[in-house]
Amino acid sequence: MFVILNFIGLSVLKFLEESGRVMVLFFRTLSLTFRPPFDLRSLLSQIERVGVNSIPVILITGAFTGMVLALQSYTGFKRFNAEAFVGTVVALSMTRELGPVLSGLMVSGRVGSAMAAELGTMQVTEQIDALYTLATNPIKYLIVPRFLASLIIMPVLTVFADAVGILGGYAVSVYLLGSNPTIYLRRTYDYLDLEDIYIGLLKACVFGMIIAIIGCYEGFNTQGGAEGVGKATTRAVVLSSLLILIANYVITALFF
């Protein structure tokens, strides 16, 4: 009996301690972001790695998501003669939900893992210690550019995903299912509010911050050589993916 209680107690304490440390890192990163000197070179390099190199993945993800959405909603809506609203559903789903969430999950897998692996390797080879000895704050030098890049790029990638998703839905509806293109587009514009797009972009920003902070946190706290780096990378992806899904609900509920 006590063993179970002990286990639960320790798990809760461990969870709270980890969460606390992550929040501390988040606030330290935030405060250092706005303190000069500003390293533009690092930021641009990270934007290229996080953003530009993720575009192909995001385009494919967005396109196929939009296409399958069109197919599925057509199947459902046909049952009560509402096929005309496929365009609306695709647009609303992509901008409010699937665009940001799927982009977030893709970027978490691609970029979050890379951040954890790179910083984890630096940690186990004493490169982070070396930064301290060269009078450089590793958070400022390593984490801030990644954090900012993630924050800036996620909304941009989400816009790409949304756009390509809607186009994918259009292509499937019009060329596969024979919908009227004018009606499809009309339904897309009429029922899509700017607010839908903004909520999606806000989600994207939050997801970007989660990916960067979790990836960098796991990297910095890596211990134990190659195995440790592998574990840290896995944890980074799993944890940031879970947090993205949880944050997604919270933000959706807040704006409901």
């Binding site: 390797t121 630096m122 004493e126 490169q127 210690d129 301290y132 000895t133």
Partner: protein, 286 residues
């Protein structure tokens, strides 16, 4: 919270004015304690490094030598005791204070700790790029100069992954001296190097001592290196410094623990009760 402020340049000694043989203290460690959980690594360690002196700290693996120099440079925070660097007590320095103090240090890590994603000259000139307003071209020039000092030429555009172990160590040394620090810390500088390269590094360390007039602490368990580079040697055993002296004094030390270590005897007071060593030597004799 009140943090101690750094002394101004007038008050503290400029390391470059450190004369070898000087009596002034550069680093003073008083009664240092450091534990990790139940593992009491440093137990009341006392050490003094004079200005311009090269101090070598020897001791077995896992005895806390790395912990000592990490406490001196603030990578680890000690539990109890005092550390004075150039007259400044470091226990309650804030981040800014540490950033200023660390500019007086250069550290050579055991595994080089070169930044993989930067080229050789970007590594060597790292501190210059972060803390000075010099142009990249000028920094590259200075980096090439420092690389020449450590005996390397035409490597500035290579990446660390393209270098051999000995070359990486030398680049790492060039990076450590780039800001012309007053204090150099060497973490096992010759470990993992072949005998020739080890002596190249030893000679470089001696050159740094003569040319740059730095004070330094080197930790090692390579006795050959210790005798070559040290003005004085200190032995760390069970969390304390048990003996300090010149290489000659050390070789003639009456302390059996010191003698066992410097001769590398398998049997002796250090390994008494450590079954592994005895059983191994016994089975080897059969």
């Amino acid at each position: 919270m009140i943090f101690k402020r750094m002394k101004t340049d007038d008050e503290s000694m400029n390391g470059k004015q450190c004369q070898r043989g000087s009596d002034k203290t550069m680093i003073l460690v008083k009664d240092l304690y450091k534990s990790f959980g139940g593992n009491h690594v440093l137990r009341g360690l006392n050490l003094e490094v004079k200005c311009g002196e090269s101090m070598v700290v020897i001791g077995g693996s896992g005895t806390g030598k790395s912990v000592l120099i990490k406490c001196v440079i603030g990578l680890l925070h000690h539990d109890r005791g005092e550390v004075y660097v150039d007259g400044q007590e470091i226990s309650s320095l804030d981040e800014e204070g540490w950033n200023e103090l660390r500019k007086k240090f250069g550290m050579l890590f055991q595994r080089d700790a070169l930044f993989d994603s930067l080229s050789v000259w970007e590594n060597v000139g790292f501190a210059l790029r972060r803390h000075t307003k010099l142009s990249d071209a000028k920094i590259k020039e200075l980096a090439v100069e420092k690389l020449k000092l450590v005996g390397m030429q035409n490597v500035e555009n290579l990446m660390p992954a393209e270098l051999s172990g000995g070359m990486r160590k030398r680049v790492s040394l060039a990076r450590a001296i780039a800001m012309e620090p007053a204090i150099l810390l060497y973490d096992e500088p010759t470990t993992g190097l072949d005998p020739i390269m080890a002596n190249v590094i030893n000679d470089l360390i001696v050159t740094m001592r003569e040319k740059l007039e730095v004070s330094s602490i080197a930790i090692t368990h390579d006795m050959n290196s210790a005798y070559r580079i040290g003005d004085r040697i200190a032995m760390l055993y069970k969390g304390e410094i048990i003996e300090v002296g010149t290489p000659d004094e050390f070789k003639a030390s009456p302390n059996p623990i010191v003698q066992q270590f410097i001769r590398g005897d398998v049997e002796g007071p250090i390994t008494q009760g450590a079954d592994f060593h005895l059983k191994l030597s016994q089975s080897a004799r059969r």
